[in-house]
Symmetry: C2
Subunit: 299 residues, 2 copies
């Protein structure tokens, strides 16, 4: 049987079940935005890795500065989704022998931008010969134990917020997005943030991860969803990937407070229900529709 | 200018110089077997990553169990080379859509073997579509501050030891080697271990890394070099890669003690000199020859 029959998420589930991860000190193993391990009395360490491959995630025509920037930024976004602060990274690079030194210099310059912005150090790496350009970044971060947010904590009645307009990012914003570290950290200053994920595979697909791992359902308000000017309408906002905005399930009172204090940074889009409700959207005429599955999948 | 003109190590130097790694808490940045960052009062954290690519490091005909095993074992070997103990890993995998579930299961089984042997947990990862199979492992480990060994501490008069026979491992042993965690930990129970590296690119090339980073020279005794039965004679032992034995510069008194107590685990092969001496080998007739450069390079 080929892996295509399992699908990307079936494959991830299967691997996660089979992997040996019984060591002491593992708080969250495979299957969330980051792995979480014990660090010190006050904090956990976060670990995440993300691989970009030429002709899958970018092409030779893309500015290498932006490719290098994105390679680190996607990992920063994963750290943000757990409410953490990034710290160190190691980078494995596969390079065709024909790559120019100028190209590599630009890749590095793009990485350095993210490092400066978020106070990250690239402390090591590995270089290998490869037919296609490959960049795999592994990043560590830290989060206070009482501020860790994972995918599995959403509760009935929580409000769903996103940190920015959605859709159409495949064109341009996928290389230019700002990882939402500040926005996540602002939210978790107070208790009441129950679940969080960064939107990399599309709003609906990533919301489904939260719902499945929280054993919950949700409804969205069509009129409230912030649609990016790059998106082809609502469908783009729901199903396009690589927005790298955060999707957050927040206790109602805290959500109301945040929406009032920071109306430009957080957008109300829906509400968590019990699992039996499934996932629906309420249109402008107040009719409720079941949302079809969809979003980006590798297989 | 293409990267081939810089060569692999020229390229690594250039990248290491340009990378931003000024964050507090970085003890050793790019250019050693592992990166070293502050952890707690007593210990440092080690970080390393290693990428295996189909048709560069292995082919489809190799048993996927052995490929999975090697993917983790090379990182364990890097942790060992800093005298550390491995802890957690995250794994990025690029897979062709035609890969079978059976193949992936075997890869995982190979990884689990290493996890069980060294008490490592694979805590997360990333899966991507790819034309060639790619496995990149990032591993963390810990080492007591007074037991950290890097490449740069070799001193004139130190003896050079290796942990096993060398050469010919491209055939078979590259997939079957045991990372030398125990051997490194045994050595660093006492002070006097000045520099260490794992032999991945060939004895001579990896010794040159120690010599350059320690500003030292060395001579080897041809008669003492343990040549693997798989190697094509001395040349294989000197220049073949992927032995994953440790090469260690040890203060004389400690070296003598270790060689007496554990004659099967450590082999004396030479001595550290000042840099002006260069790198030579003393043959069976007591004639000294300058060693030509050589070993495995990606570019």
């Amino acid at each position: 049987m080929r892996i295509g029959r399992l699908g990307e998420f079936g494959l991830i589930d299967r691997i996660a079940r089979r992997l040996s991860h019984r060591r002491q000190g593992v708080v969250i193993g495979p299957g969330d935005d980051c792995a979480v391990v014990q660090y010190d009395k006050r904090r956990y360490q976060l670990l995440t890795c993300d691989m970009l491959i030429e002709d899958v995630d970018f092409t030779k025509r893309h500015d290498p500065m932006l490719v290098g920037r994105k390679a680190l930024a996607v990992s920063v976004s994963d750290i943000a989704a757990c409410s953490g602060v990034p710290a160190h990274a190691v980078v494995s690079v596969g390079l065709p022998a024909t790559t120019t030194v100028r190209y590599v210099d630009k890749l590095i310059a793009g990485m350095n931008r993210v490092c400066r912005e978020f106070n990250i150090s690239v402390v090591g790496g590995d270089i290998s010969k490869s037919e296609k350009l490959i960049i795999d970044v592994c990043m560590t971060g830290y989060v206070e134990k009482n501020r860790l947010v994972v995918r599995s904590g959403a509760r009935k009645g929580d409000l769903l917020l996103v940190t920015g307009p959605l859709g159409g990012s495949r064109k341009r914003r996928q290389f230019m997005f700002t990882p939402r570290v500040k926005e996540a950290r602002y939210l978790t200053q107070r208790p009441g943030v129950h679940a969080m994920i960064d939107i990399s595979d599309g709003l609906i697909q990533d919301l489904r991860h939260i719902l499945r791992q929280s054993n919950a359902g949700a409804f969205l308000f069509e009129q409230l969803i912030p649609v990016s000017s790059d998106a082809r309408g609502l469908s783009g906002a729901l199903y396009d990937g690589e927005d790298f905005e955060l999707l957050v399930a927040v206790e109602r009172r805290l959500a109301a407070k945040v929406l009032k204090l920071r109306p430009r940074d957080y957008f109300l889009i829906g509400e968590i229900t019990d699992a039996a409700h499934g996932l629906t959207i309420i249109d402008k005429k107040n009719r409720e529709h079941v949302l079809r599955p969809g979003g980006y999948r590798h297989f």
